[in-house]
């Protein structure tokens, strides 16, 4: 049960990363390598502000803003300076790596002595009389800290996901979808597609930065290692969502990405519980991603095979 709730919390936190990747990869139809950089950048900014005593809400918001700035710069380097979309993301991510080290003054910072969302939730849990030992759910023990973490991440991520869903129903959200779907059409109805694209990457990386900020609070420390392989993680969540749901409404696809991210963490948690060493995590992610990319198509093709003879 601890493992399950841990995976759920982590899945929720990383679902914002998944949504960020979904926005750049599917809605804006680009391949944004800024993601690795902006995830760690959001974590670093939030982490440093937490150690300076800023409230966790504002530190998380700062992580969102940090990601937005990174995304906007990346988008501007691509659309205003004409650097290719892959290189612009790579450039910004590389620059952020050094910036992270400079801001942290080292390779990692501990958040153990700061008031993060999970520790605040744990305090609340105790204040409202929750037993320190934890609770029994379906007859199985869950530690109070794990439960508090889950209960703090649920509303935080839920609010963010709700706002994303609403955002894509506004004039700007619709303009972004049109720009990614058919830039020529967007221009011919008077949309400044370059500006909208830059704003889209800002929103996308803002969510990634927020995900990084929450992830740092979830695990209680920030490390430069957080900038490795996050894009693939986000893409895997998107791939799982699309393997299961196809051509549904926007709301369903947003929910799908959240679900995909949680499924990914559950699979990883199960793999760990089954005794796979932690070093194989990326391997598990890659294998799962390959499976969801290939298997649904294989099943579909088998169904379509005409019966002969």
């Amino acid at each position: 049960m601890n493992l399950l709730f841990g995976a759920l919390s982590m899945g929720l936190v990383l679902s914002l990363l998944g949504l960020g990747v979904y926005i750049s990869y599917r809605i804006l139809d680009t391949f944004d390598l800024t993601v690795d950089g902006s995830f760690a950048f959001g974590a670093v900014i939030a982490g440093v502000l937490l150690t300076r005593g800023l409230a966790s809400f504002w530190a998380s918001a700062a992580g969102f803003l940090a990601g937005m700035v990174a995304g906007a710069i990346s988008g501007a380097v691509h659309r205003r300076l004409g650097v290719s979309r892959l290189l612009s993301g790579l450039l910004v991510a590389t620059a952020l790596y050094s910036l992270d080290l400079l801001i942290m003054g080292g390779g990692d910072i501990s958040l153990a002595s700061t008031r993060t969302l999970p520790t605040q939730a744990f305090d609340l849990w105790l204040r409202f009389g929750g037993p320190e030992s934890g609770a029994r759910i379906f007859g199985i023990e869950v530690s109070a800290r794990t439960l508090a973490t889950f209960l703090s991440m649920l509303p935080a991520v839920g609010t963010a996901v709700f706002l994303v869903d609403r955002f894509f129903r506004t004039s700007l959200g619709l303009a972004m979808r049109a720009t990614g779907d058919n830039a020529q059409m967007a221009r011919s109805v008077g949309i400044d597609d370059a500006r909208v694209f830059i704003a889209g990457l800002a929103v996308s990386n803002g969510l990634v930065g927020l995900s990084g900020a929450l992830f740092a609070q979830y695990q209680g420390f920030v490390t430069i290692q957080m900038s490795v392989g996050m894009l693939v993680m986000g893409l895997a969540a998107v791939a799982i969502a699309e393997g299961v749901l196809r051509g549904r409404s926007l709301g369903a696809r947003i929910a799908g990405v959240v679900g995909g991210s949680i499924v990914l963490r559950l699979v990883v948690a199960l793999a760990l519980a089954a005794g796979l060493p932690a070093n194989t995590l990326k391997l598990v992610t890659a294998a799962l991603m390959l499976a969801v990319l290939v298997v649904p198509d294989m099943i579909r093709r088998r169904r379509l095979t005409p019966v002969t003879g």
């Binding site: 004039s171 058919n182 008077g190 949309i191 500006r195």
Partner: protein
Amino acid sequence: MTTHPAPEAVDMSEAFVHGAAKVVPPPTLEVRDLSHTFERGTANEVRALSDVNLTLAPGDFVTVVGMNGSGKSTLLNAVAGAFLPDSGQILLDGEDVTRQGEFRRACHVGRVFQDPLKGTAPNLTVAENLSLALDRTRNPFVLRWALTGSRRAELRERVRTLQLGLEDRLDTRIGMLSGGERQALTLLMATLVKPSLLLLDEHTAALDPRSVEQVVKLTERVVSSQRLTTLMVTHSMHQAVQLGDRVLMMHRGRVVREIRGREKQQLRVENLLATFDQLRSMELLDESAADMLRRLYV
């Protein structure tokens, strides 16, 4: 390069004299000495436009015909702002827009493309596509809900005027519709907010015969009911004869013939074809003789 007598210059000075007495509204579209060469300095160099002059007064409906590579679509793209021309000027409602970006011009210019896939966003619904077109002149960064109930009702009424039954399919992804339906919707989107100028770029060329007829009828209806100033490029001599009140014939980047007034009313497809044959035989002559013939036409 030989110097041409410039009839435009005379027209303009006349307008100026009249202007002193009463205010003459600026023409909707004015193209002055527009020239453009693609791939300059390479083996593929193409002089797509040479000194094109064109004026559309408010309410004019002009069709442009020409062979492949005559520069007719290039002219339309230049007016739409798809590229920056080498030289010359483009004025919309008297304002010089030569250096203005495509999206900025789109606030006043409606456009329908040859490719029915170009004018609509396939993964957005019919209502969402139309909603974007309805917001042509509004800044999307000023946040508001894209589709409210009242907007949907308004859009439904506008779609009903197409008489294609699409008003019941507002929530269908537009990519699911046929080319003809998409083109009809693109035409509606281009005119949802009345544009100063409507550009039609061979907008029936990629459609099946039944859809062609539908879209041509719709074009006629929309243009006449809103009295739209329209510049239409067409590959179809029939359409050039049937639609509009002026025909421009383009050849090798030049406007070689302009048919207007009574001559346009009496124009038949055979007349146009004969002119094209003359042009083709001219091709066989050397450049100086061709230039002489051309001057006879201009």
